[in-house]
């Protein structure tokens, strides 16, 4: 068969181009996700979608705003540090799923599943750790929660326990961050070794298992754990290895030191880190509580973004910040709320940064009071699907399921009323 030389050259060129694109894509691919999860549902009106002109029933006690370093973007007055670096992140002001219950809102926001089917989906942390199970070679678990995952539904979903998060437990803001199973101040290395020797001697004379197949497998797991405890794994959680300046930059509080730990875990290659901050369910005396909580978040999150950026890690690390839903733009002044906001799944905000997201932009828009979305609805599946895309996971791919064979990674993606398209407008070309 005769092939026209021009055709040959074209094919060659195209395939070269494809290889180039593929390489380029993998080089640019995000390696880790840090989800700063504001459990309970943070108020978007007081953070990323302020409404200073909507009257006191909307803006409540926070009439002032922070003007950011990006012209045209304002955020809440309690986030002055984040305001100085709005060119490093983007805001989605049109997140929606319409769910107002904590557990169901959480399920929607953490799985992207709005299909209402009879299947429990895995959280995106579990999905990421499923897809990275072969390529991720680190000694640390692929999905880590500081200090614990929400656990309000089974986060492993139909993928099973294996892909659930590793909960650190402990308190990173304390002198010693006692990570469950890794950092144990009660036991010296000497005592640990004594006990191990005793255990080995016992297993060797055990009447039931001394020659069993179990013994070999369990021995090797123990060995793995020993290198885990005394090796780099422990070091990743050892915040005393950071300078005082760095620690204080993040803030000497739970959220700050958790974010600092997250950065150390990113350096160790962990694909998904969940920094779970609690207490955002501000029904009562909301402004008072936010006045305490927001400065900590502001400090921690701004330090995290800046620190990753300075270390050249921001391009390969996705940062997300938001909760299971937002809160009603209209303030409940009456008792027993006394200036609180209720659950609001209709319109809320998320912050995204790094990992291939375009910074300095605002996507979506709510109306004057913030009660309706007027521009570009973003559903959980759209955000999570975009994260998958940036992580090199096909948002239209499938996951194995015990009875169904396989199921779509994101059952709601592309479905009317459950999805409005991936966030291509926020992905760097």
């Amino acid at each position: 068969m005769n092939i026209h030389p021009f055709f040959k050259t074209t094919v060659l060129l195209i395939s070269m181009l494809m290889i180039f694109i593929a390489e380029d894509a993998s080089a640019r691919q995000a390696k880790s996700v840090i989800l700063v999860y504001l459990d309970g549902g943070p108020s978007q009106t007081d953070t990323f979608d302020p409404k200073p002109d909507a009257g006191r029933d909307i803006y409540g006690n926070f009439k002032e705003v922070s003007v950011t370093n990006v012209p045209g973007i304002i955020i809440g007055s309690k986030l002055p540090l984040l305001a100085q670096m709005a060119d490093k992140y983007s805001l989605i002001r049109s997140m929606t799923h319409g769910v107002n219950g904590h557990e169901t809102g959480h399920y929607a926001m953490i799985t992207g599943d709005l299909s209402g089917g009879d299947v429990v989906y895995p959280s995106y942390g579990a999905v990421v750790s499923y897809f990275k199970k072969d390529s991720y070679k680190g000694i640390l678990p692929p999905y880590i929660s500081i200090t614990a995952a929400n656990n309000r539904f089974n986060e492993g979903g139909f993928l099973g326990n294996r892909f659930k998060s590793f909960d650190t437990g402990g308190a990173p803001e304390k002198t010693t961050f006692e990570v469950e199973g890794i950092v144990n101040p009660f036991i010296s290395a000497e005592k640990f070794n004594q006990r191990l020797q005793l255990l080995n001697a016992f297993e060797n004379i055990n009447p039931y298992f001394k020659t069993s197949a179990y013994k070999h497998a369990i021995d090797s797991m123990r060995q793995h754990n020993i290198s885990f405890i005394f090796g780099e794994a422990g070091a990743s959680f050892d915040l005393s290895k950071e300078s005082k300046e760095v620690r204080e930059r993040y803030g000497m509080h739970r959220t700050g030191q958790a974010c600092l730990t997250a950065r150390r875990l990113v350096e160790a290659g962990v694909p998904f880190i969940n920094v779970r901050s609690t207490g955002w369910d501000t029904h009562k005396k909301g402004f008072q509580r936010l006045s305490d909580m927001l400065p900590e978040l502001d400090q921690a999150l701004s330090a995290l973004i800046a620190d990753l950026d300075e270390r050249g890690l921001l391009e390969s690390t996705i940062i997300l910040c938001g909760g299971e839903f937002g809160r009603t733009p209209r303030v409940q002044w009456e008792a027993p709320w006394n200036g609180g906001r209720a659950h609001f799944g209709k319109a809320f905000s998320y912050l995204v940064a790094g990992g291939g997201f375009i910074p300095g932009k605002v996507i979506g828009k709510t109306d004057k009071t913030g009660e309706e979305i007027v521009e570009r609805k973003v559903y959980p599946a759209d955000l999570i699907g975009t994260v998958y895309l940036l992580m090199g996971i096909d948002p239209n791919g499938t996951l194995p399921h015990i009875t169904a064979g396989s199921l779509p990674v994101l059952p709601s993606l592309g479905k009317e009323g459950q999805s409005n398209g991936l966030l291509y407008e926020l992905i760097k070309p």
Partner: protein, 483 residues
């Protein structure tokens, strides 16, 4: 030589003691010889299988030292009549009935409590299995007052198809099922009351049947008449003696609960694609179950009195060593240290705390959990499959046992250990007491020597020795596995 004869005698006596019909079937179908297990193994295994608990030390000593020729049968009987047996069964049923306050069952705490209490009553009175299933499926009324109706509430989408699929899975082991029979559940309707989270499940008799004649899975058909409870026709067909699959699935499930592996395995995946590993045995158990009037305890007695059950763990015997289930392990750690986890429900607010000392087995709500329970694969109750309980030991679980600060703190502070040291006063006494409570047996001479040498070499106090030995034993394979 003397030793060999002795061993032979023991083997023979144990075999004649406990050989029953099950063993005859095994002998006819395979020529494998299974080594019988010792009393201490039988004791621990039977406590774990029937109650999900370790035997208390005094009970263990009593059993081990008893010379009663039928002490094994007597132990089986007494455990089957214990409150702990009922509680453990409630947990197992709660797993497959997906009892849970929040997503995806959304039964809410009041419904969960009522449902668990109902299960407790059904199991403690040993209601025949076919009656139990009828009570469950023919229920109607308020989820608080007729708790069995919670069965019809535990769905994300309460469609006749989802309900029917779940019933076919639970009671017939069908993973995929044609939807025709779903028509029998078309009348089920739901309405709220003024009481918070109360729901009335009632039948809408104005509905016309989708089809007059509904074909069910063994090619039998039932007729649906307007104005009747269509579930009745279905349930009668389901629980009929002619429907051998119904009895076989439960007999096999009980076998699975005892051995960790079904004769049909997985126990909820029936069909030509997955034949039983021992057809004769399955037929026999099914016959016995039906003949006993669907008596769960009678079938368990039959199984537990067999030589197969009372053999060592594989490869020498038939029993397969299994890691302790999450709740069992966490409860055992609480008993051994004397310090239990606290459980709380986050719904409704404000949080509800379970009474101090509540056992993980008794929590009864998959929404209520702890990091440790999650770590060891506590069932999330999302689906009605037995496979959702994963008892494979992982490195991460070992890490917790080896080095969790929380666990070490409990070992250190343990009053159980402190008291035991006061009582026993010396190394052999302490070692014996810990081995009894942890491993349900006396320490061997070799082990005693090991402990003495350890204490001497490392110059540890008696209390410290107690901590070290407990740590060591709960990390041992023998403890972690029911073998």
């Amino acid at each position: 030589m003397k030793k060999i004869i002795c061993m032979l005698l023991i083997v023979l006596s144990v075999n004649t003691l406990s050989a029953n019909e099950i063993d005859k079937i095994f002998r006819n179908t395979s020529h494998q010889h299974f080594l019988p297990c010792g009393d201490e193994v039988f004791l621990r295994r039977t406590f774990l299988v029937l109650t999900g608990r370790l035997p208390k030390s005094d009970k263990a000593v009593q059993f081990l030292q008893s010379v009663h020729p039928e002490k094994r049968t007597l132990l089986i009987d007494s455990l089957l009549d214990s409150d702990e047996y009922v509680r453990y069964m409630v947990m197992r049923w709660g797993d497959i009935l997906r009892i849970k306050s929040e997503f995806p069952s959304n039964l809410w705490p009041n419904g969960v409590q009522a449902y668990n209490r109902w299960l407790y009553e059904q199991i403690s009175t040993n209601v025949p299995y076919d009656t139990f299933v009828r009570n469950l499926l023919l229920s109607q009324g308020s989820n608080f007052r007729s708790p069995a109706v919670n069965f019809y509430r535990a769905f994300i989408k309460k469609t006749p198809e989802n309900i029917y699929q779940n019933i076919q899975l639970l009671f017939l082991g069908e993973r995929t099922t044609p939807f025709e029979g779903a028509a029998c559940f078309d009348q089920i309707s739901y309405k709220p009351t003024k009481e918070w989270k109360e729901e009335i499940i009632y039948l809408d008799y104005s509905k016309k049947p989708r089809k007059k004649t509904v074909k069910l899975s063994n090619n039998k058909s039932i007729q649906l008449q307007p104005g009747e409870d269509w579930r009745k026709q279905y349930t009668e067909w389901l629980t009929d003696k002619q429907n051998r699959r119904f009895a076989a699935v439960m007999a096999n499930r009980l076998w699975y609960w005892v051995f960790g592996k079904g004769i049909v395995d997985e126990p909820d995946d029936w069909g030509v694609h997955n034949p039983p590993s021992n057809k004769a045995l399955l037929e026999y158990l099914t016959d016995q179950f039906i003949a006993s009037g669907y008596d769960t305890k009678a079938l368990l007695k039959l199984i537990l009195n067999s030589g197969i059950y009372q053999s060592s763990h594989a490869p020498a015997g038939f029993y397969i060593a299994q890691r302790l289930p999450a709740e069992v392990l966490i409860d055992a750690l609480a008993d051994l240290t004397g310090i239990a986890d606290e459980y709380r429900s986050r719904v409704p607010e404000p949080f509800t705390f379970y009474p101090k000392g509540t056992r993980a087995i008794d929590v009864g709500d998959a929404t209520v959990s702890s990091s440790a329970l999650e770590l060891f694969g506590r069932v999330s109750r999302d689906v009605s499959l037995e496979s959702q309980r994963n008892n494979t030991l992982s490195a991460r679980q070992l890490l917790y046992l080896m080095n969790a600060r929380e666990l070490e703190e409990r070992i250190r502070k343990s009053n159980v250990l402190t008291e035991l040291c006061k009582q026993e006063k010396d190394i052999p006494g302490v070692c014996r007491a810990i081995t009894l409570m942890t491993l349900s047996r006396f320490p061997t001479d070799e082990e005693m020597l090991l402990y003495r040498q350890y204490a001497q070499k490392n110059k540890v106090s008696l209390r410290q020795l107690a901590s070290d030995i407990l740590w060591m034993q709960i990390n041992s394979i023998e403890f972690l596995y029911n073998h």
